[in-house]
Point group: C2
Chain length 246, copies 2
């Protein structure tokens, strides 16, 4: 059973201080991961490492740059965070291996992402835990654009036919209009009243788009807060369970 786990950048970094790891939160996450014995892919966000540099160089998922010094600066910052994550995992004897999207992914003119997963699949089968991250990648006629951690999760989960997806962020799940966690979502109709119509763009911090994307995957996804990571890994029901594959 292959699990793809997103560790939000806001979980493992101090978003208010440039390039600062939240060492306590990262250690807690790593402690929880020690219990995992089945195939696991980790994807972490950029937090205070990626976003500062991306903003400085005016790069987003759609707006690119051919300033390769700037691209290299964003990538190098993401690698510093990735190395911090890897080091904490290795301290706990988790067989973590870095996989950098810039090395393997690219977008065509229409923004369609190509991210071959053969190396990730092989690493998993050999017993390693690949650790990917949000990054900058080559984009046809745009130089390079940002690849978000969420996009990595979606494409890697699909490419590997993952069995479950975990999204560990600073929110405890998808919230209704009284800020209660919605336990299960099987179609967008279940949450349209809270997140906006199916045509709406991201009115609630990107949650509408996130839910739509997760509903479109072939495997169930769960959105939960950091304190729910261990129970999620143990197979317990936590946060919001999203499954559009029924």
């Amino acid at each position: 059973m292959v699990t793809v786990l997103k560790l939000g950048g806001s979980v493992i970094t101090d978003k208010n201080t440039p390039e600062t790891v939240d060492t306590r939160a990262l250690a807690a996450a790593a402690d929880a991961l020690m219990s995992v014995s089945e195939p696991l892919v980790i994807v972490h966000g950029g937090g205070s490492f990626g976003h500062v540099h991306a903003a400085e160089h005016g790069i987003s998922t759609t707006v690119g740059t051919t300033n390769w010094d700037g691209i290299y600066a964003v990538h190098a910052a993401m690698k510093r965070l990735n190395t911090a994550v890897l080091d904490v995992l290795h301290d706990r004897s988790i067989p973590a291996v870095p996989v950098h999207p810039l090395s393997v992914a690219e977008r065509d003119r229409d923004g369609t992402l190509s991210l071959p997963v053969s190396s990730i699949d092989r690493l998993l089968k050999e017993g390693a835990v690949p650790v990917l991250h949000g990054d900058v990648i080559a984009h046809e006629e745009h130089g390079a654009t940002v690849l978000s951690g969420d996009e990595v999760v979606t494409h890697v989960a699909t490419g590997l036919s993952a069995d479950r997806i975990g999204i560990c962020s600073t929110v405890p799940g998808v919230l209704d209009d009284e800020d209660n966690v919605i336990e299960q979502i099987y179609s967008y109709d279940d949450v349209e009243a809270y997140l906006g119509g199916s045509e709406s763009t991201d009115v609630s911090g990107g949650m509408a788009g996130k839910v739509k994307t997760l509903l479109s995957l072939g495997a169930p996804a769960t959105i939960f807060g950091p304190e729910q990571l261990q129970p999620f890994l143990d197979g317990e029901a936590v946060g919001t369970y999203i499954d559009g594959s029924q």
Copy 2:
């Protein structure tokens, strides 16, 4: 015209001192690269960064390990050298971008290498200079094994249909029995007398295997010493020209 250039590990590092860049040699190579305006892929070897760690953990191109701490140590050392190379190139405004083989390549049970080049191709077309290196990669049923810089050159040159290949090492070319540089090689028959029969293994420091591999590519390759890098890039005839595609 796409050029794939190998910078030997023995050229850019001090092979006798662990993890030591030959800063003067690296700067000279980077200075020469400033003149390049056409698509260029750089591949560097491990030198005193990769080999020490690989030997310590008992890893080679055929002998693997599932000690992921060791694999991570070898990879991290290669990345330190790669960062040193990238930094020197960026100092000279060369639009260099790192591409790490561990992220993109893997071997099957028979040792056959898979190395998708879509990301490298896109980077090239967007005007970047991808910089790859020898590395450790996942290998079916072996954990991870070493991927040599020479293997990267061969596969990337083939995958990109490169127009020319440059091998910059510490030898000035392929030598005959009087240590004179052989100027041109169009078939193995031309050098069998010096390098051994076609069935021979690497009797002269790997040169026999290297020549055979380069003859099998669809593009001409040139082997030359560091002081010939600038003339090679300028299109002059230097070292040994190897072309088996006639």
